[in-house]
Symmetry: C2
Subunit: 219 residues, 2 copies
DNA sequence: TGAGATGAAATTGCATACAATTAAGGCGGG
DNA sequence: CCCGCCTTAATTGTATGCAATTTCATCTCA
């Protein structure tokens, strides 16, 4: 009766390591020592290796035969590619969502968006960031296409380490919310092309914010 | 000096099993027994398990904890989703290619397309099929975006088992070539929106051909 | 006859052991 | 003082062994 939820150690390790990468505890370039990870989690190397292979396929880590694994460290050009890819995937999902979301999904998306207005006005960066992930995930789901949604989500995870502090750039919250408004209006009204354009615009601006932030950090 | 080409056993197994799936020797739903695969390739279960985990992340196989792995067997709805996703990814790549291909790449794409006309006219299904993969791969590459190209290629692999005989449908070769013509013209002329539309059109028709073929087989 | 229990066999998950490659440190020569 | 080689430690790749779960055939009983 209950859903069979028996993840293997390798599965749990994969999510644990991925979490470490996403929340910044494992920064890009960090070496992933098999015995270290094994001891740290109280398991043997076997499930660790399986987890690493899984993460390597997702692009979160890089494995070189006999040279070990590291958290993926992208060059600026590769980061740019990741952002472009994410923008395209999100825009595609937005377009499909505009075409195939159910009325209920459209209303919920609208409600979610409106709730975020308050967070943006209050300047609650933490809560807005969480809500933002949920907002974009709702659009992925609204595309009603599992493979595309999975790729979009995966790209979002991959760019995560490089956009950690994006919302701290001055005024990003309100601006993000305004851009969401255009996206939501297009999706709710069934304007496929408009949804695509608005989402590309939105994510591209996120990338700009990242670049501004990176420039500040480099200085 | 020589490039370091030392794939591990797990890597070689992953490609070997993937080949088996792609060329139809391992049909969807086929059980992937660890000891069987190990004996068959003369290795132990350890690298086999790592290869399976790698393939599971690519979507080519399904693994359920403690229940073993099978070649992914998609429902008709899931196959539909895969085709839609592939159409979107290819269209996105075509649009980016129209915007960012170099003059040399455009000329090569045109030349490749023209060479395929002869194959279509001659009815050489085998050669056309191979050239077709290369044609689409050239467009992925022309997008100048590694993540998108990788996803597009991966989707192409995943739908492979369900479209094996598409070109045998009567007249598909010539028609495919005509559709390619629209795609190539748009890309070469830098018409981004046109390239997107033409590619969606093309891949959607491929899906129609698949469905026609499936209907024939079901009868 | 068929549904459910029961046992053995098969299969997966994980740990340990060993082999092979790579990285690190010291040594001598220039 | 720096560069290269050699030795040794550290790390990865693979094999094997054992425990646990699943599967399947058989048996029992309604």
């Amino acid at each position: 009766m209950s859903t069979d939820t028996n993840p293997t150690l390798a599965d749990k390790l994969a999510t644990a390591i991925a979490d470490g990468i996403l929340n910044g505890r494992l920064p890009p370039g960090e070496r992933l020592d098999e015995v270290g990870l094994a001891e740290q989690h109280g398991v043997s190397r076997t499930p660790v290796r399986e987890a690493l292979r899984q993460l390597a396929m997702s692009g979160l880590i890089d494995m070189r035969p006999r040279k070990g694994a590291i958290v993926s460290k992208a060059t600026p050009e590769e980061i740019e590619s990741l952002f472009v890819a994410m923008a395209e995937m999100e825009a595609t999902c937005a377009r499909l969502a505009a075409m195939s979301m159910t009325p209920v999904e459209r209303r919920r998306l609208q409600a979610r968006h409106e709730a975020m207005m308050a967070l943006a006005a209050a300047g609650d960066t933490e809560a807005y960031s969480d809500a933002n992930v949920a907002f974009h995930s709702a659009i992925y789901a609204g595309a009603h296409n599992a493979p595309l949604a999975e790729y979009a989500m995966n790209l979002r995870r991959r760019v995560g380490p490089y956009r950690r502090a994006q919302f701290r750039v001055d005024g990003r919250l309100l601006r993000s919310n305004q851009e969401h408004d255009a996206v939501v209006r297009a999706i709710v009204s069934g304007d496929a092309a408009g949804a695509h354009a608005a989402m590309i615009h939105h994510v591209s601006l996120v990338e700009d914010a990242f670049e501004a932030f990176a420039a500040i950090n480099a200085a």
